[in-house]
């Protein structure tokens, strides 16, 4: 029996056509992937399978059903892990883990049992022991992600849909996730994976459907799933190779740095950190989840004040300004782009143009506070061209765009401020390879025109051929710093685990590790 059979699915949101002629077929007992660029309709297709979105046209058969609500899908044995992490922040770990599992009035599991299972499952999956009565709002993003995964896995689904979910997890966690997916496959279930991580695809999927512009453009079987084939089908391969090359640049460190951190401590008794980024330099920041790198970039960007030490910019060679607030950062020309779009970037109720322009309102307003719409539109035109943003109409809500295109709007907002320093916190989360390459090209242009870039990423392969320097965080401090020539996967990975020499993995974890 086929697990999923979709034929000629079409779906539009407002003027944006998400799907037009998408088909997909996969069997029970296999891991199938949906691949495609941003805005190619992957997430929409996943939402149709899980009953969140209804197709405008086409035939849906998922485990013999055509679910019209998530409740129906769940009843049919379909569990979905959505791109956005669906948790109720105010409620506890166990309440979130078992959300929606009870009957309408009756509990199917006792509360004590739920607490026990939630604790046990999270211990197994996330390898952290959490009191199931902890409110979710107190937990880091990666644990929230695991709660959502636990919720789906505990339902013992016949079909499990992962929508780019491993993006919030670090390397080791991704490996545990793979184990979980393989176990489901062994048990005869089907796993549907929506991902941008090519390495992941090559390693664990049995077959893949490739989407482009809302249409199925190809299907690959196990032996055909290679990076080359995928990129060829996604039509991003040219850009990939073109942007991959980079000339060695010489950064003048004789001048004062564009942004500097002196003796910053992330916690009361953490290592003091020193950090510098010069004009024209791209500095990569890496680390395992919770090693302090996210906190550090927040401090650099002026979002959270440093608990100890100071962050400063140099106006002239002798005058420095300390950055302790967002206002300081803005005055100093520092902008911040977050990969957590939902929380730290988007105004979901506003239009694409408003989301782009709201940081510019101050500059583009006349003396009496009236915004110059023409100037704003022109600025949007520039950035839209530069980043090739795909949208229906600029007055559409930002939420009509795909995740990758939303991210492009946020990056456009940052570029339009013409900053001196741009700080990015995992901007490529949930973004396809084509957009990533576009982004790298723009950042490099920005740097060669005298800007400074701080780029935090959860995927270390992003730094290769891109960063001038990579600083690796470990246990709340900068553990190692690598110059352009020394930025290799082995070096970075070793440093992330606190090793001074590249570690030799046993074969099992090694191959997946460095992919």
């Amino acid at each position: 029996m086929p697990a999923i059979s979709l034929q000629n699915i079409a779906k539009s949101f407002g003027e944006t056509r998400a799907l037009a002629g998408a088909s997909l077929h996969c069997e029970l007992g296999e891991i199938h992937a949906i691949v495609g660029e941003n805005g190619s309709g992957k997430s929409t297709l996943a939402k149709i399978i899980s009953g969140v979105a209804l197709p405008d046209a086409g035939k849906v058969d998922v485990l013999g059903h055509a679910p019209t609500t998530p409740a129906e899908a769940i009843a049919a044995g379909i569990s979905t892990i959505y791109q956005e992490i669906m948790v109720a922040e105010e409620l506890t770990v166990w309440e979130n883990t078992f959300a929606g599992t009870d009957g309408l009035w009756r509990r199917k599991t006792t509360t004590a049992e739920k607490k026990r299972l939630a604790r046990e499952t999270l211990l197994r999956l996330a390898e952290v022991d959490i009191d199931p009565d902890t409110p979710v709002s107190a937990l880091p993003l990666s644990v929230k992600q695991w709660i959502v995964i636990a919720r789906a896995v505990l339902q013992k689904p016949k079909l499990l849909i992962f929508d780019e979910s491993s993006a919030a997890l670090d390397l080791e966690a991704t490996n545990r996730l793979h184990k979980e997916m393989l176990a489901l496959k062994e048990a005869g279930s089907c796993v549907l994976l929506v991902t941008h991580r090519i390495a992941e695809l090559v390693k664990i999927t049995d077959s893949a459907t490739v989407l482009s512009d809302g249409k199925t453009v190809g299907r690959l079987e196990k032996s055909e799933i290679t990076e080359k084939n995928l990129l060829r089908l996604m039509s991003a391969d040219e850009r990939h190779s073109a942007a991959g090359k980079r000339e060695n640049s010489v950064i003048s460190t004789a001048h004062k740095p564009a942004l500097e951190a002196c003796n910053v401590q992330l916690a009361a008794n953490a290592w003091p950190l020193d950090f510098k980024v010069h004009a024209g330099e791209i500095v990569g920041i890496a680390g395992l989840d919770g090693a302090g790198q996210s906190e550090f970039v927040s401090i650099l960007a002026g979002i959270t004040p440093a608990p100890a030490g100071k962050v400063q910019v140099w106006g002239a060679s002798t005058v420095s300004h300390e950055i302790t607030s967002l206002a300081d950062a803005e005055a100093a020309g520092i902008t911040y782009v977050s990969g957590d779009r939902k929380k730290e970037g988007l105004f979901p109720n506003l239009s694409i143009l408003e989301n782009f322009g709201l940081a510019l309102y101050d500059r583009m307003a006349s003396r009496f506070g009236v915004i110059d719409r023409t100037q704003l539109s022109a600025a949007f035109d520039d950035e839209e061209l530069r980043l090739s943003i795909k949208y229906g109409d600029r007055s559409d809500k930002i939420t009509t765009l795909s995740g990758g295109n939303q991210q492009k709007v946020l990056i456009a907002r940052a570029f339009a401020l013409s900053p001196k320093v741009i700080i990015l916190n995992d901007p490529a989360r949930g973004v396809d390879i084509g957009t990533k390459q576009d982004l790298y090209t723009h950042l490099r242009d920005f740097a060669s025109n005298g800007g400074a870039v701080v780029y935090l990423s959860t995927e270390i392969e992003e730094f290769l051929n891109f960063a001038d320097r990579a600083d690796v965080f470990f246990e709340g401090g900068i553990f190692a710093s690598f110059d352009q020539g020394a930025i290799t996967e082995d070096n970075l990975l070793a440093a992330m685990f606190g090793q001074t020499k590249p570690i030799v993995f046993d074969e099992d974890t090694g191959t997946e590790g460095v992919a």
């Binding site: 609500t69 769940i74 922040e89 409620l91 309440e95 959300a99 599992t101 009035w105 409110p135």
Partner: protein
């Protein structure tokens, strides 16, 4: 964990204790047998109104039921005009009518919120105005006579009175309801509706259920009000809306949804009653009513500030 879940009760509990001591000093007659019986009678409609709007607030979407006051007034005037004047006075019939009528209204409100997608505050604001008008059409000025057995509640000389039993029954109903999976669904929906929807909760039924519970308690509140005044009054209920919302907020139930319970609402209502008692013991004469309003407002601001100060650092640290 327990302390965490009940932390929102510290402020209303503190208020009740402080005001209780003040009342005991200023108006010691409140704490006699007859005094308590009277207090229970007078406070019951507000307590039940505050309890009624609690499940709706927990269900989220900024669900404040503004129509609660006129709804209680509606049941009050219709008991007097439609039932009592037509000789329908049997307790079972009157109880059934009160609860069913209030539930029917709440179902209507829920249907508008769910299917027409009107925000709850607008839907219930419209309901507030409509019912206010309807009540005056049914009974243009206070009058009529409640069924005799119900009117007799108004003597308020016995502590072990039907009003006490109704309150106890309301607590029992809530206690049982709180243990159902449905309550959990409502909490989840209130805390994050999208998470609830995507994890398979039937959010339509959950919202209906929250309003249904509100209907049951609103019906009981109307019976207590009718017993208290012994007649029909088309405007008496209206003031209950703002008082009930004040009690709800004092009790720590979040208007953002997902958080709270009736214990807080009850404590909030009791605190408001005690303010009234304490103020009555001073001789403000004609402006006493204004002073009560003023103090309700100040108390609300104070309670929210205290809650902010006591809970903010803890969430930050976590």
């Amino acid at each position: 964990m327990l302390s965490n879940r009940l932390s929102h009760l510290w402020v209303p509990l503190g208020l009740v204790l402080i005001l209780g001591i003040m009342a005991a000093v200023r108006a010691p007659q409140t704490f006699t047998y007859v005094g308590l019986a009277g207090a229970l009678l007078v406070a019951a409609p507000l307590i039940l109104a505050a309890v009624a709007i609690t499940p709706i607030a927990i269900a989220g979407r900024g669900g404040v039921d503004l129509s609660i006051g006129p709804l209680i007034g509606f049941v009050n005037v219709t008991i007097v005009v439609w039932l009592s004047e037509n000789g329908i006075t049997h307790p079972i019939l009157v109880f059934a009518y009160a609860i069913l009528a209030a539930c029917a209204w709440q179902m209507l409100l829920a249907a508008f919120i769910i299917f027409v997608r009107i925000s709850p505050i607008i839907a219930s604001l419209a309901g507030f105005m409509i019912l206010q008008g309807v009540n005056l059409v049914i009974l243009s000025r206070p009058g009529g006579v409640a069924p005799e057995w119900l009117g007799n509640w108004g003597w308020g000389t016995e502590l072990l009175s039907p009003v006490l039993y109704i309150l106890l029954a309301a607590f029992a109903i809530w206690f049982l309801f709180q243990r159902t999976a449905m309550f959990q669904h409502i909490r989840l929906m209130g805390a994050d509706e999208r998470t609830a929807y995507t994890s398979g909760v039937d959010i339509i039924k959950a919202r209906f259920a929250a309003h249904l519970m509100a209907g049951v308690f609103a019906g009981l509140a109307a019976l207590c009000l009718t017993g208290l005044i012994g007649s029909g009054d088309p405007t008496q209920g209206n003031t209950l809306t703002l008082q009930a919302i004040t009690a709800l907020v004092l009790g720590g139930t979040s208007l953002a949804g997902g958080k709270g319970g009736i214990t807080g609402s009850v404590l909030g209502a009791v605190a408001m009653y005690l303010v009234f008692v304490v103020l009555s013991s001073f001789n403000f004469g004609a402006i006493s009513g204004f002073m009560t309003q003023l103090l309700y407002g100040l108390m609300l601001v104070f309670a929210l500030l205290v809650a902010l100060v006591t809970t903010a650092p803890r969430t930050r640290a976590a």
